[in-house]
Symmetry: C2
Subunit: 412 residues, 2 copies
């Protein structure tokens, strides 16, 4: 045995998911899946390891140089723990562009890594729902993606008043860049300032953008045609909480059309929950033509904060509905038969193996939040009737083995 | 745009999961979850990144030194991509030993990394169901864990004759080591040879073990008491396909009691599918006392091979049950309303946005394996009745919007 004891701490900036946390995580993922599958999106996946070169081309530079986990493997390959999923999905789509049947409606819930200082809403590892629609360059695709984003919020139990979609178009910014004769580098600098608009006083913002784009520069307050049209089509679909916002530009380089962010409207949590946009050029980094694409990513940490703020977190429930306690070991075989019957009938059951006193067995069930308990003793073995107790209200029901599963289904 | 095109290949030795592959992966995970939850196991999770020191103490040495992905982060911390889940779960349990309510029935389906030469059944990244029972040192815990392993196989559709559980106990080997005066190092060498018994001729095996343990050494052909008892208790629970096998020892150092492997009995795929055992000492590497534990890990790659060998792979189905084609754009609003109604009623629906010709829209549905299709045109808008076509057999049904979801539920 080692004398220097090991630390029980996880690696810095990542999370352990004990069953209660995992329950929330699974709830979030399940609602996400349900929402996107309503629109026919299918799930894909990939490894967290990617060749480092994948991120050199089109992500924001800050991300590639300072914020990734990149290392060299034993075969001298440069490997990165993916910081975002879009390059991966673009790679996968480009690799099979001839076999795949477009339009593709794809989603995934990968974990992503950023090397940054851990703080509220910012961990080194987070999970992110990625939803993408490939192969359609018309506005109906933009509308569908926004409707999916909206549906995800509703699926968590959010009301239309709890959040707001803010939308803009990169095209507007491109037009302005042309009008003010900005180089691509200047246009990018400008974008990064606009992206941080909410984080500085208005005066400072005005100074900064004029320093880059000239004293005459004003951020356009007029929505481009595509943005206007998307908003009006969504309103026809009863999605009203969408507004044009010229300060929405998004950090990544690769967007080419609409860009949007979903905002929490609660004054205590007023911030972007997630966002996305159109990126028609990314697949052309690989061999072959452009593939039009529009999509978004929604992270688990900000969603969880949102659910907490709005009282939408679910209450923990374990998988087991019933705990079978054993009054003495001579009854174990009968208890095992009962457990087998219930499991066959679709009830998840814990069978006691602690061999503790009956009261202690029931305490285990209660503290593990298993809602019902029954104790198997000589009497139950003889009669074949079991007293099923609801631990929350103490109410008991006497049932035969074959009646228990159906009864629990109606009670839960 | 870059002129040097990026490669579309994934990192070496890992897999991309296109929707068809992800469908199988999800099927495997779903069946695993269902099987273990029957016994009341609850899911936990953790990051793939762990402090490197976690693997120095108790894993086999080969694994720590040559087979892990270990690198130094920007803060000079040594980090490892977890090669197995047991040290992580032992760390998590040890960290909260005072708050947790034992016995713990925990499971997880983490991805694991090994730096090794990719070959059949051996990838650099795989997923592995980990099932563990903490806090009980009696034989009932061993029996339950083996029953869970058995249930997992049945949940995939395997018959009892398709596989076999082979069981041994580390205690038997310890007794022999004492009898033959073997040092701990020699005992370990011996174990590594026994673990590879099936991979060499019998003669060579005999030579090797005698070279380590002396000419008089014979591998015990008698099961220890605990193994005998576990087998007889499982047979009482109608689990018959379990046998004592003195060559089962498992690679990791940390096992202290029973060890077992589940074997495919098919002559074409006769090999270990997965395994585990009792490890009562692992938690004592951290501050505090021992925590008795028994568990196993079942990997996705070998399970998938098993399902393939036995014809148990599921047939791909996308999430969408119905593709709504649009005959001309004037009908889009009606088609959107139909889609909204069906989604509200629990049907997953793709609404066409390709704006292609009707025949091409139906081709998309067919090639994406969406089972039903309907086309919305002027007639349907007027009548409110929709022709729902089953693409597999061509049979059509004319239904009102409100009837479609129920009808599809019975047809699918």
């Amino acid at each position: 045995m080692a004398t220097n004891k090991l630390s029980t701490e996880s690696y810095k900036g990542v999370r352990d998911f004990y069953p209660e946390d995992m329950f929330i995580q699974k709830h979030i993922f399940e609602r996400m899946r349900k929402a996107v599958e309503k629109f026919g999106y299918v799930e894909y996946g990939a490894s967290v390891l990617e060749p480092a070169e994948l991120y050199r081309a089109k992500s924001g530079e800050e991300i590639v140089n300072e914020q990734t986990y990149t290392f060299t493997d034993r075969g001298d390959r440069e490997v990165t723990l993916r910081p975002e999923m879009t390059p991966t999905v673009a790679r996968m789509v480009a690799a099979k562009r001839r076999e795949l049947v477009f339009p593709l409606r794809w989603y995934s819930i990968p974990n992503l890594f950023r090397y940054e200082k851990p703080q509220r809403g910012r961990t080194r590892e987070h999970w992110q729902l990625n939803v993408d629609l490939f192969g359609v360059d018309n506005i109906q695709a933009d509308v569908e993606i926004l409707a999916v984003a909206h549906e995800i919020m509703l699926s968590f139990g959010a009301k239309a008043g709890d959040f707001e979609i803010r939308i803009n178009s990169r095209k507007m910014l491109e037009e302005q860049a042309t009008k003010y004769n900005l180089t691509p580098e200047k246009a990018k600098e400008l974008r990064l300032i606009i992206d941080k608009k909410g984080k500085m006083p208005h005066e400072e913002f005005q100074q900064k953008i004029k320093a880059i784009a000239g004293d005459n520069f004003e951020l356009s307050q007029v929505a481009s045609n595509d943005v206007e049209k998307v908003i009006s089509l969504l309103k026809k679909n009863n999605i009203e909480n969408i507004v044009f916002d010229p300060s929405i530009v998004r950090g990544f380089d690769y967007y080419t059309g609409i860009v949007f962010e979903v905002y929490d409207t609660n004054p205590e949590n007023r911030r972007a929950l997630f966002g996305g946009g159109r990126y028609d050029d990314l697949a052309s980094l690989f061999d072959g033509d452009k593939i039009p694409a529009v999509g978004f990513g929604a992270g688990d940490v900000t969603i969880r904060d949102f659910l907490e703020t709005h009282g939408l977190l679910p209450t923990y429930k374990p998988s087991a509905q019933l705990y079978i306690a054993i009054q003495d070991e001579t009854c174990r075989e009968s208890a095992e038969m009962l457990a087998a019957t219930l499991r066959r009938n679709g009830t998840d059951v814990v069978l006691d193996i602690s061999q503790k006193k009956l009261g202690d067995q029931i305490k285990i069930a209660d503290r593990q939040k298993i809602p019902f308990v029954t104790a198997v003793g000589a009497e139950e073995v003889k009669s074949g009737a079991y007293r099923i107790k609801n631990l929350a209200d103490g109410i008991e029901k006497i049932l035969k083995a074959t009646e228990i599963s159906d009864s629990l289904k109606t009670l839960l």
